[in-house]
């Protein structure tokens, strides 16, 4: 309930702002509406092209443009059939459906782990005062700069060989390359800096009075975290979950590098990439495959989108 109340007030404030701000007035005009719709339409054209192509016959695809579908509607579900059930040429006998489970098994923990750790870390960095907490926060923030491509091989070496200094083993080999854990860990590691940053900004802006009142009532840090901070942070957590879900779901690089050729743990993206065939002669399957794979992120996005804008604003702009 408290969340609902909180969001109503800024809305009213925004309305007042629009009336007094000439920039807002301009954006609300008919001209602006038309511009926005034109840009949106232009932006959608390539997607529309892929979408119509996914229903066309290979012969049509290679001989004329996708817009011909409106003049000569000749629709086929062959591409979707190939993606779901294989193409009958024994290429992908079972289609990509089984790999959806792999994608989910990879994605769900890879969203839950960083969110859990980041929420706790963000609370700790904003409300538990200890020496060097600012430095740690700054250091974590700076870690966002490390590009994932640079750390693929060192991380893989850590998983397979551990870290040794001469004969002293600093970190034993983890032995998780080619297992799901070997994919969860890199995703978690790379999500943490941004997750902690976003959630820190949100959690540190919670009213101090709430925390103090709770502490006066004898609540420990853990109780405050669980009973006050966690319920209040739901919009920010949901917003970051959407982000992280989309990143992990769409990821191909980490999955390819860390699945280490283990067929059973490959996500659906890795399988889809293979649908085109060795010489790329079946690229028409990719059009259907693209729409099959975006189905899940779309469901996640639409079911959580009411948190999305709210959560992002709460985390970044104050």
């Amino acid at each position: 309930m408290s969340i609902l109340n909180r969001t109503r007030t800024p809305k009213r404030a925004a309305k007042g702002l629009a009336e007094s701000n000439p920039g807002r007035k301009l954006l609300g005009s008919k001209f602006a509406t038309i511009t926005v719709w034109t840009i949106a339409a232009l932006w959608t054209i390539p997607t529309l092209g892929i979408f119509t192509t996914s229903f066309r016959d290979k012969k049509d695809i290679v001989t004329n443009g996708w817009w011909n579908i409106f003049i000569h509607p000749h629709l086929t579900l062959a591409n979707y059939h190939a993606v779901f059930f294989g193409d009958g040429q024994s290429g992908l006998t079972n289609g990509v459906l089984p790999y959806f489970i792999n994608s989910l098994v990879i994605t769900i923990p890879a969203v839950l782990f960083p969110i859990t750790i980041a929420t706790m870390a963000a609370y700790c960095l904003s409300w538990v005062k200890f020496r060097g907490s600012d430095f740690i926060f700054f250091f974590i923030f700076a870690l966002q700069i490390v590009p994932i491509q640079m750390s693929l091989i060192p991380l893989l070496q850590l998983f397979t060989g551990g870290v040794h200094l001469g004969t002293v083993t600093l970190i034993p080999k983890l032995g998780i390359a080619g297992k799901f854990a070997g994919i969860w860990l890199p995703h978690t590691m790379f999500a943490l800096p941004l997750a902690i940053y976003l959630l820190h900004n949100f959690i540190s802006s919670l009213p101090r009075d709430l925390m103090e009142a709770a502490h006066v009532d004898g609540a420990s840090h853990f109780t405050v975290f669980r009973r006050i901070v966690l319920p209040l942070s739901v919009p920010a957590i949901a917003a970051f979950s959407i982000f992280q879900f989309l990143w992990v779901w769409n990821d191909l690089l980490v999955a390819l590098s860390f699945s280490a050729g283990t067929e059973g743990i490959e996500p659906v993206n890795a399988k889809l990439a293979g649908l085109v065939g060795t010489w790329g002669s079946h690229w028409e399957y990719l059009t259907a495959g693209a729409f099959v794979t975006i189905a899940v992120p779309l469901i996640v996005f639409f079911s959580l989108q009411r948190y999305f804008v709210r959560g992002l604003l709460a985390g970044s702009v104050k």
Partner: protein, 445 residues
């Protein structure tokens, strides 16, 4: 909310069933005498062992590899896990450096093989493999599997690039014939141009590998004009791109594929994907396309690929009579990353004619798989296109050269040569400018 949750549960349950159904495969590997007869003798039984072969082959073709190795598994108990990835070329170095190297890798570029050998992780093949390769492959193939004179990798399949796709039906309709000399080929192209037909079509687009078809055109002309010695010196950069023979060859290519009389607007070649380049051949929208034997898969379903059908190939004729039957091809090589018993057994099997025949059988009448293994009889091919290609590959009198861009250092052969030749077709810059730009990018060490 309740309904949505239920729906998701059903979806998860359905998908789980599908998952279980996929991964419950029969695991009754054991020795079978019928299978062993097809495999050959001398293999130790090694029940339960799995050997991973990492490859760039995916889709249909990968499942034919799986089918072809069934007898071996039935006979020896060793399961071969064919693991294909489109990003093989970038994944293999990552896996080798990261410590998750596959047992065997099927490497299509001698340049990449050399790079892998340089890491020190490639195992020396057992003597059985060396013996097979000495016995069944020509010296040029053995050399391609060697690095600094030391043999590492046995060849797998081969593909023939020196082919021109055309439509026998369209040729018959207009009274064209298959040319046997370069001059006759261009003379007939002039006739097509005069009749307002597109004599040649081409496409360089291929995602991040855009430009490779142009390297093939240049290579074909270089070997046809200057012969194998200049060609091989060109690969190791003793002959530079800006040297006379290569510039001459570039001008010949420009008079052929860069000739607006034959191809229409030249710059469209740079923007057309190679898969789409020849799709109008069956209908006469375009008369000829220089492309490798594997282009057969790019025609729309229903296209009859036969000597009298919608599409077929002729051998790209020679230019210089001193160079007899110049043939350009590509191929793949098996490199091992450990010396385990099971890995070596598989490595040995993959170098035998028995394996090649089994793989050809798995391809069936669709074809698409050739071997330069001389132990394979031409009668093994049930696909006419493959039989024709294999004839040229196995021909002892032919001048065989390997795809130069695959053998050059990757920075050039899979880098600047692609981009500069694409640039050449897109802008029509002079051959000298393009050649100099490629030379400048040659790695110094």
């Amino acid at each position: 909310m309740q309904i949505r949750k239920k729906g998701m549960l059903v979806a998860v349950a359905a998908a789980t069933v599908a998952l279980v159904a996929t991964f419950v495969a029969p695991a009754n590997a054991g020795t079978s005498s019928a299978a062993c007869a097809n495999v050959g003798s001398g293999y130790a039984v090694n029940k339960g062992a799995t050997v991973e072969v990492f490859t760039s082959v995916v889709g249909d073709e990968l499942s034919r590899y799986q089918a072809a190795s069934k007898d071996f598994t039935a006979c020896t108990g060793i399961t071969i896990n064919w693991n294909g990835s489109n990003s093989f070329e970038s994944q293999l170095p990552v896996r080798v450096a990261g410590g998750t190297a596959p047992d065997l890798a099927l490497i299509p570029q001698p340049g990449l093989l050399a790079q892998m050998v340089a890491t020190g992780k490639v195992a020396t093949p057992p003597s059985a493999v060396t013996n097979n390769v000495n016995r069944y492959w020509s010296k040029s193939w053995r050399d391609l599997g060697s690095v600094n004179g030391k043999f590492y990798a046995a060849p797998n399949s081969a593909n023939l690039k020196s082919l021109v796709w055309y439509s026998p039906k369209q040729f018959a309709k207009y009274g064209y014939t298959v040319p046997t000399t370069w001059a006759a080929m261009l003379a007939q192209s002039d006739k097509m141009a005069a009749a307002k037909q597109t004599a040649w079509c081409g496409g360089l687009g291929s995602g991040s590998a855009t430009g490779w078809p142009a390297t093939d055109w240049l290579e074909e002309v270089v070997v046809r004009e200057a012969g194998a010695t200049v060609y091989n010196n060109w690969i190791n950069h003793t002959v530079k791109f800006s040297d006379a023979p290569i510039i001459h060859a570039m001008n010949t290519v420009w008079g052929w594929m860069g000739n607006s009389k034959y191809v229409g607007t030249v710059s469209t070649i740079a923007t057309t994907t190679f898969q789409n380049a020849g799709v109008n051949i069956p209908t006469g929208g375009c008369m000829q396309l220089q492309q490798a034997s594997f282009y057969a898969a790019s025609f729309p379903t229903g296209t009859v690929v036969s000597p009298t059908g919608d599409a077929w190939v002729y051998y790209l004729p020679g230019i210089n009579p001193a160079v007899t039957t110049p043939v350009e091809g590509g191929g793949e090589f098996y490199a091992a990353f450990n010396s385990n018993k099971a890995t070596q057994e598989v490595q040995t099997y993959l170098s035998t004619p028995q394996w090649a025949v089994s793989r050809i059988k798995a391809a069936g009448s669709n074809g698409g798989w050739l071997s330069a293994n001389t132990g394979v009889p031409n009668s093994a091919y049930s696909n006419a296109l493959d039989a024709l290609s294999a004839k040229y590959l196995a021909d002892k009198s032919s001048t065989f050269v390997f795809d130069a861009s695959d053998a050059m250092p990757a920075a050039v052969g899979a880098g600047t040569e692609w981009t500069q030749l694409t640039n050449w077709f897109a802008t029509g810059a002079s051959a000298t400018t393009i050649a100099k730009a490629i030379d400048a990018s040659w790695p110094t060490n």
